[in-house]
Symmetry: C2
Subunit: 289 residues, 2 copies
C-alpha cells in the first residue's frame, strides 16, 4: 500500500473513533474538518519512513503512531489559529475551525484531537503494550510541557525568549517525535533517532520563515507576513533571504549525516533530499520589507 | 499515609514533570496555579478508595492514576472558564487562569495539563505496562469524544440537546473514570465499577444544580446562577428544589447498592454516605427565581 494511502486511512480510522450516536453532532463534524485536506502529512510520512527503515514489523502500531502524531499536529493548528493566538481566518485554503464552527468548538476540537491521539495508541493490541506505552511516552513528552509544542507556543507569551528552546519546542518537537516514534513502533531504540528529527525540524522552521516572508497568501493557503506582523523571531530577519537558504541547505546536509546505520539508511537519505528540494523556496512572488 | 496527603503529593510530583530549565516561565507557573487550592479532590479520592477496596497492590500506579484524573478535571475547568465558554473570573476563590495569566496561556495550560495526565501514566514502571495502558484507555475514553467531558462540553454548542448524553458526558464521565481507574490500577476488571461511577456522577450533577440555584458566590467561591443565566438544563428547573433533593437521595442509594462485592465494600458505602451528607445542601442563603 502506498504510504499516502496508509496515512490517510489511519487518520480516517482514528477520526471514526471520535464519532458516535450519542456524540454532539457539531463537534463530531469539526473533527474530520480539522484534519482535512491533508497537505503534505510530512510528520507521519517521516514516522512511517523511519518505521520502514527499521523493519516495520508491527505496521498496525506504526499506522496508529502516524495518525496520533498528525492528530496532535492538527490540534496545535486549530488552537494556534484561535483569535487569542494568530487570529487566522484561513487554513489549508478553507475557513479555520473557529470561523466555520465557533470558538468554543475550536477549543474543544483541539482538546478532543489531543485526547484521541492517546486514545488511539492505548488501543494497541495487548502484545504491543510495552511499545505502545513507549509511543505515548514520546508523544506526550514532545507535545506538552516543558519541551513539547505547548511549551513552544508558551514562549510566545514571554517578553524574554530563549530562542533555541522556543524553536526546538515549537517546530522541532513533533519532528523529533516523528523519528523517535517510527523507531519505537518498529521495536528499535528511539534515542539514536533524536538528532535526525531535530535537524529536520530546524530545516522546516527555516523553510517556514522563508515561505512566510516570500510567498503570497494564495500560494500558501494561509495568511503570510505573520512573523513580521507579530514581531516573531525569524531566520530571514536574522540572516536575510540568501543567508537563510544557505542555512537551510547546511542543516539538511547535517540531517542526512545523522541517520543511524540501518537497512533503510539510503531510502531515508533520499527522503530528506526530496524534502530539501520541496522546502527550498523557488520563484518567490515578491520579497516584502 | 492519609489519602489527602497521597493525592496532594501525587499532583505535586505530576506538576513537577511539567517544569524545566528550558520551559517558558509563565506557562510553567500557570500549571501549579491551575491545580491549587485543591478543593475536595473528590475524583481522585474516589479513585484511591476503589483502588484500596480492590487491594491497592500497586500504590505508585494508583497515585499516578489519581493525579492524572485530577489534572484532566483541572484542565477542563481552565478551558470551561474561558471567555468563549462560561467567561468566569473567579474559581476556587481566586482569579481564573485567563484572568491571572491571559487567554493564550489559559488555552495552553489546559492543553498542557491534558498531555501531562497521559505523560504521567506512560511513565509507569515497565512491570505495569499493561495496567498503565488500560488506565490511559479509560482516561482517554472518558475525556475526549464521543463520550467524555469534551463531548459533554460540546453539547452546550448544540441547539437540540440529548440531555442524558449531555449529563453523562459532562459530569458523569470523570466519575466513571474514577471508579474504573481505581479498579484497573489495582489489577481488577474495571467494567463492574462503571455503574457506581455513573451514579455518583449523576448525584454530583444534581448537587451542583442545587448549589448553583441556592448558594451565593462567596459561599461557593465561584459565580452562581450560571444555569439560569446560560439557560442550561438543570435538575432544579425540572424538579424544583425539594424534588431535586429527593432525587439526589435516591441516586445515592442506588450508588451504594451498585458497589461490586469486594473486601472494601463497607468502606466504600461509608464514603458514598459521607459524600451524600456533604452534597445535600443545607441552610441555603436564598432561593433565587
Amino acid at each position: 500500500m502506498a504510504m499516502e494511502t496508509r496515512i490517510e486511512q489511519a487518520i480516517f480510522r482514528a477520526i471514526a473513533l471520535g464519532q458516535g450516536q450519542d456524540a454532539p453532532p457539531r463537534l463530531a463534524a469539526a473533527l474530520p474538518y480539522a484534519v482535512t485536506p491533508g497537505g503534505a502529512r510530512i510528520r507521519p510520512t517521516i514516522l512511517l519512513s523511519v518505521a520502514k527503515a527499521c523493519g516495520d514489523d508491527r505496521p498496525d502500531l506504526a499506522d496508529r503512531a502516524a495518525a496520533a502524531l498528525e492528530l496532535i499536529h492538527c490540534a496545535s493548528l486549530v488552537h494556534d489559529d484561535l483569535p487569542c493566538f494568530d487570529d487566522a481566518d484561513i487554513r489549508r485554503g478553507k475557513p479555520t475551525v473557529h470561523v466555520a464552527y465557533s470558538q468554543p468548538l475550536a477549543v474543544l476540537t483541539g482538546d478532543s484531537l489531543i485526547v484521541l491521539a492517546f486514545d488511539l495508541l492505548s488501543r494497541a493490541a495487548n502484545a504491543d503494550a510495552a511499545r505502545a506505552l513507549g509511543l505515548i511516552r514520546i508523544l506526550s513528552c514532545r507535545t506538552g510541557m516543558p519541551h513539547g509544542i505547548c511549551a513552544g507556543q508558551g514562549w510566545e507569551s514571554e517578553t524574554q525568549v530563549n530562542l533555541r528552546a522556543y524553536h526546538r519546542a515549537k517546530t522541532g518537537a513533533l519532528f523529533i517525535a516523528a523519528t523517535q516514534m517510527g523507531a519505537q513502533a518498529a521495536g528499535q531504540d528511539p534515542e539514536p533517532w533524536t538528532e535526525l528529527g531535530a535537524r529536520i525540524g530546524e530545516a522546516f522552521q527555516v523553510a517556514d520563515d522563508l515561505r512566510d516572508a516570500l510567498y503570497d497568501a494564495e500560494t500558501l493557503g494561509k495568511p503570510v507576513g505573520q512573523d513580521a506582523m507579530h514581531a516573531r523571531p525569524s531566520a530571514v530577519t536574522e540572516l536575510g533571504v540568501q543567508g537563510a537558504i544557505r542555512h537551510l541547505r547546511d542543516i539538511l546536509g547535517g540531517a542526512i549525516a545523522s541517520i543511524p546505520s540501518c537497512p533503510g539508511e539510503a531510502m531515508l537519505a533520499e527522503l530528506v533530499r526530496k524534502y530539501a528540494e520541496r522546502m527550498t523556496p523557488v520563484a518567490p512572488v515578491q520579497v516584502r520589507a
